[in-house]
Amino acid sequence: MSGTMNLKLKVWRQPNSEAKGSFVNYDAANVSPDMSFLEMLDVVNEDLVKKGEDPIHFDHDCREGICGMCSLHINGRPHGPKQAITTCQLHMRSFQDGQTVTIEPWRAKAFPVIKDLAVDRSAFDRIQQTGGFVSVNTGGVPDANAIAIPKPVADEAFNSATCIGCGACVAACKNASAMLFVSAKVSQMALLPQGQPERYRRVQAMVTQMDEEGFGSCTNTGACEAECPKEIKITNIARMNRDFFTAKFFKQEEV
C-alpha cells in the first residue's frame, strides 16, 4: 500500500436543529488509504475529544453498506465520489494527498438537520407506514411453496427490495423528491402476487403521504438513480406513476 495522506476537511457543524450552521476546517493527518471514510472521521473525532472539543456527529451503524444509517454529502455528492456504494464503504484510497474534502449533511426540507451531519429521516418511515406492507397477520398463511413465482419476476422484485432507505436519492435531487425511494417499495409489492390485493390502495396512500411530508416533485432528471448506492432503477418510478394513475382513474373501487 502507498503511504499516508494529509487532507483538509471542511465540515458542516450545527449544534442543533434551531441553530445556524457553518463550515469548520479540520486537518486530517496521516490518513491511511486502507481506512474507510468513517474511520478517517473517527480518528479526527478522537483528536477533537482529546482536545476537549465536541466530536463531529454523524449517523452510522452497520458500516457494511446495508443498514442505510450513514449519509454524508461528500464533495457535492451523496455517499461520495464512487458509484454504487454507501459512505461507510468508501475508502480513503479514493482520495489524494492534499485534497480538500467538503462534508455536508443531506439537504432537504423533509430531512431537517438534528446536529452536524445527522438528519431526521423519519418521514421515510411514515411513508412506509401508510402502505408499505401486505396485510397479513402472523399465522394462518399458506405454505411458502403454494404460490410459484417465476424467477425473473422474483429477481426483479428483489432488485427493488434492496433499497436501504438511506435518502441519498432525495439528497441528490434538486427538487428533493422521494420518488425513487417510494417507488422501490411500490414496485416490489406490485410485482409480486402477494402485493396484488392492495396494489392500488398502497400506491395512493404512499404517494399522498410522500406529498404531505414536503418532498418535491419529480422532473425526471435522473440524479437519484445515478447516486443510489443500491442502483435502484428509475424504471421503478415509471411503474409507480402508471399504477398511481390507474388507481386514480380506473381502480377507485380498489383504493
Binding site: D34, C62, C67, M69, I85, I147, P150, K151, G165
Partner: protein, 644 residues
C-alpha cells in the same frame, strides 16, 4: 432462588402443543387493556411487536437507530434454516433439532431446540406471505443452500441479504400496526434501565437521544429484544451501536445472565488492516459452499507470500493444504464455525498464515469459477465479492479471498425459561439477547430462525399466560420505583459527564477488546483468564477516573452514549471471564486449552458441566453468584462431536 426452566412434561414432540393448550388466554376484549413494552426492533423485536399488536395488545417499541428498519439483523447475509424438506434430502424437524443440539455441543435445552425446529417451517410461510423475496428456482419455487454443521440443504436465502429482506418483512408488519395505532414507535431512544415494582418488571427508563430527556414508560410486561454483546471485543462483525446496556441493566435488576462466556468466533471475516480499524466485515458462511479453505503446505512458501514475492494463484496444487478437507473429509469446508475458526488459528500459529500480516488463510473460488462459470458465481455471491473488493481493493474472482476468524455472535445472554421469561417476572428476553437455543456454538442460519421464532410464534402464546395471571389493572406510574429508577439513571449520567480525564472512551474500549480477544477469545486458559480478570478490574477503576466524556445530557451527545455502553461492557467482560474460569471443560466455541482431545478438538466434561451457568448480580463490587440449571438429555445421546 431456584431456577425453574418450566419445561413441559411429556414426549419431546408433544411438549409445545400441549404447553400451548395449557397456557392461559387473555380474552380478546381484554387485550386492549394491556400495554407491552418491546425494546429492540430487530427480527425478534419487530416480529414480537407486530404479532402482539395484531392480537390486540397495545405496544410501545423502542430502538436506538433513527428507524426500526436499521436494527442489526439487517446485516445478516447468508440465510435462514427451516426444516421444510423441500429438497427431499432427508430433512425433518427431528434432524434440524438434532443438528442444532449437536452443533451446540450439547449445551442447549432439548425442549427449546425442538420447539425452534418445529416452528421453523411456519417462519418461511409467514415471510413469503409478507412478500419477502427469497431466492427462487426457474420452476418458481423456493431455492435452498447448505450451511455448516448440516448434511442437508435447508437454508433459505435472499442473495447475500437475507437479514435485510427478513427484517424489512417484519418492519412492514410493524409499520402496519403503527399505522393502525396499535404500536407506538420510539426511534432514537436508548433504554437505560428496567423498572421493577414488587419484584415484577413494570416499565423502562429511556433517554431520548436527540433531546436528552429521560423518560419513564410503564407496561404490564417488558420484552428485551436488544441483540448480542459481541462488541465487548471492540472489533467484531456487529454494528457499531450493538451493546449490552439493556441486558446488563436488567441483569443488575435481578435477571440472571446465562453462559456469558459462550461467544461465537466466525471463521470467514476480512482480516484486520490496522489500528484505525473500527469493525470487521463478515464474509458469509454460504461462501464455504463453493469456496475452498487453504494455506501453503510449508512455512517457506507462506513466507514468500507474506513478503509479496509470489501470489496465491501461483502456488501449485500440490503445495496447497486444504486443511479442512484433509482433516474432516465428511464435512470438509462445511464444518461448524468453532471448528473452522480454531483450525485457521492453528495454521496461523504454525506460521503458515498468508497476507502481509500473516494473520489470514485463503478462501478460494477458482474451482467453483471453473466448474460453474464466473457469472454463476456472481449471481450467487456477487454482493459479497463486491463488498470484499471495496474493502481490500483485491479482486476475489482472480485471487483467493484472505479471511480470518472474528467475533460474530454471542450464544450467552439473559437466562430465560421455556416461556422466554427471565428470572424477573414480567421481563422477557428474545432473540440474540437471550441464551436459549444455541448451546455453546450456534449453527449458521439459525439466529435469524430463532429471532423470528421467538417473536412470531413463541411470545404471542407464552406472554398471554403471564398477562392473564396478573390481570389488566393499569400499571401505576406514580409508584416510587419509577421515580427512583429514573433518578438512578440521571445520577449515572451525571457521573459519566463529570469525567474529564485524559483518555478517550474509544481507547478504553480498544483496550478492553484486546484483553478479551487475547485471553477470552479463541483459546482460554486458567492462567490467562486470571490475569485478564485483574486487568479488567484495573481498567474499570481507571475508566471511572480518567475517561473523557464531553458535552451535556440535554443534547444529541454521541460521546455520552458511547461512554455508557463501554462502562457496561467493562463490567460484562469481567463476568465473561468468571464464567470462562468456572467452566474448565471445552465445549463448542469455549475452548479451554487444558481440555482437548489428542487431535486438539474441544473435549467436553459431561459429568461435571452439563449445565447452564446462570449468574446472579449481588451488588456493586460483590462477586456474582453462580446458579446451575442441569441439562437433561432424554432424546439424544451425548457423544464427542465428530465431523470427520
Amino acid at each position: 432462588m431456584k431456577l425453574d426452566a418450566k419445561i413441559p412434561e411429556g414426549p419431546l414432540a408433544e411438549k409445545w402443543s400441549k404447553h400451548k393448550f395449557n397456557l392461559k388466554l387473555v380474552n380478546p376484549a381484554n387485550k386492549r387493556k394491556y400495554t407491552v413494552i418491546v425494546v429492540g426492533t430487530g427480527l425478534a423485536g419487530s416480529s414480537a411487536a407486530a404479532s402482539l399488536a395484531e392480537l390486540g395488545y397495545n405496544v410501545k417499541a423502542f430502538c436506538y437507530q433513527d428507524s426500526p428498519r436499521r436494527a442489526h439483523s439487517i446485516a445478516a447475509q447468508g440465510g435462514i434454516n427451516a426444516a421444510k424438506n423441500y429438497r427431499n434430502d432427508g430433512d425433518s424437524v427431528y434432524r434440524l433439532f438434532y443438528d442444532t443440539i449437536k452443533g451446540g455441543d450439547y449445551r442447549a435445552r432439548e425442549a427449546n431446540v425442538y420447539r425452534l425446529a418445529e416452528v421453523s417451517v411456519n417462519i418461511i410461510d409467514q415471510c413469503v406471505a409478507q412478500g419477502v423475496p427469497f431466492a427462487r428456482e426457474y420452476g418458481g419455487l423456493l431455492d435452498n443452500r447448505s450451511f455448516g454443521g448440516a448434511q442437508v440443504s435447508r437454508t433459505f436465502y435472499a442473495r447475500g441479504q437475507t437479514g435485510q429482506q427478513l427484517l424489512l418483512g417484519a418492519y412492514s408488519a410493524l409499520n402496519r400496526q403503527i399505522h393502525e395505532g396499535k404500536v407506538e414507535m420510539f426511534s432514537r431512544h436508548e433504554m437505560l434501565d428496567v423498572v421493577v415494582v414488587d419484584g415484577q418488571a413494570k416499565g423502562v427508563v429511556v433517554r431520548d437521544m436527540v433531546t436528552g430527556e429521560i423518560e419513564t414508560h410503564a407496561g404490564h410486561a417488558v420484552l428485551l429484544c436488544t441483540g448480542g454483546y459481541g462488541n465487548v471485543f471492540y472489533l467484531s462483525t456487529n454494528a457499531m451501536g450493538c451493546n449490552v446496556t439493556a441486558a446488563w441493566r436488567a441483569h443488575k435488576r435481578g435477571a440472571y445472565f446465562g453462559n456469558p462466556c459462550f461467544t461465537q468466533i466466525h471463521p470467514t471475516c476480512i482480516p484486520v488492516t490496522g489500528d484505525h480499524q473500527s469493525k470487521l466485515t463478515l464474509m458469509s458462511e454460504s461462501l464455504r459452499n463453493d469456496g475452498r479453505v487453504w494455506v501453503p503446505k510449508t512455512k517457506e512458501l507462506a513466507e514468500q507470500i507474506r513478503s509479496g514475492k509470489i501470489k496465491a494463484s501461483e502456488i501449485k496444487e500440490d503445495d496447497r493444504d486444504y486443511f479442512l478437507e484433509r482433516k474432516y473429509p465428511s464435512f470438509g469446508n462445511l464444518v461448524p464455525r468453532d471448528v473452522a475458526s480454531r483450525n485457521a488459528k492453528e495454521m496461523v500459529d504454525e506460521g503458515r498464515g498468508v497476507g502481509s500480516s500473516g494473520v489470514a488463510v485463503y478462501l478460494d473460488f477458482a474451482d467453483a469459477i471453473q466448474r460453474l462459470g464466473e457469472d454463476a458465481v456472481r449471481a450467487k455471491y456477487g454482493n459479497l465479492f463486491d463488498m470484499y473488493y471495496q474493502i481490500t481493493d483485491e479482486n476475489p474472482y482472480k485471487e483467493p479471498m484472505r479471511i480470518y476468524p472474528a467475533v460474530h455472535y454471542t450464544m450467552g445472554g439473559l437466562w430465560v425459561d421455556y416461556n422466554l421469561q427471565t428470572t424477573v417476572p414480567g421481563l422477557y428476553a428474545l432473540g440474540e439477547a437471550n441464551f436459549s437455543d444455541h448451546g455453546a456454538n450456534r449453527l449458521g442460519a439459525s439466529a435469524l430462525m430463532q429471532g423470528l421464532a421467538d417473536g412470531y410464534f413463541v411470545i404471542p402464546y407464552t406472554l398471554g399466560d403471564y398477562l392473564a395471571t396478573i390481570g389488566p389493572k393499569a400499571v401505576d406510574e406514580k409508584h416510587p420505583a419509577f421515580a427512583e429508577t429514573k433518578k438512578a439513571v440521571e445520577d449515572r449520567i451525571k457521573q459519566l459527564l463529570s469525567l474529564k480525564g485524559n483518555k478517550t472512551v474509544d481507547e478504553y474500549h480498544r483496550e478492553l477488546g484486546k484483553i478479551m480477544w487475547e485471553y477470552c477469545g479463541m483459546a482460554r486458559s486458567e492462567e490467562g483468564l486470571k490475569k485478564a480478570k485483574k486487568m479488567i478490574q484495573e481498567l474499570k477503576a481507571d475508566f471511572w477516573k480518567n475517561a473523557i466524556v464531553l458535552g451535556k445530557n440535554e443534547e444529541f451527545n454521541q460521546s455520552l452514549e458511547k461512554a455508557g455502553r463501554v462502562a457496561d461492557f467493562i463490567e460484562l467482560g469481567e463476568l465473561m471471564i468468571d464464567d470462562a474460569l468456572d467452566r474448565t471443560e471445552s465445549c463448542g466455541g469455549h475452548f479451554r486449552i487444558e481440555s482437548q482431545t489428542e487431535e486438539g478438538e474441544a473435549k467436553r466434561d459431561d459429568e461435571k458441566y452439563a449445565y447452564v451457568a446462570a449468574w446472579e448480580f449481588k451488588g456493586e463490587g460483590q462477586p456474582e453468584a453462580l446458579h446451575k440449571e442441569e441439562l437433561k438429555f432424554e432424546n439424544v445421546k451425548l457423544t464427542q462431536r465428530s465431523y470427520k
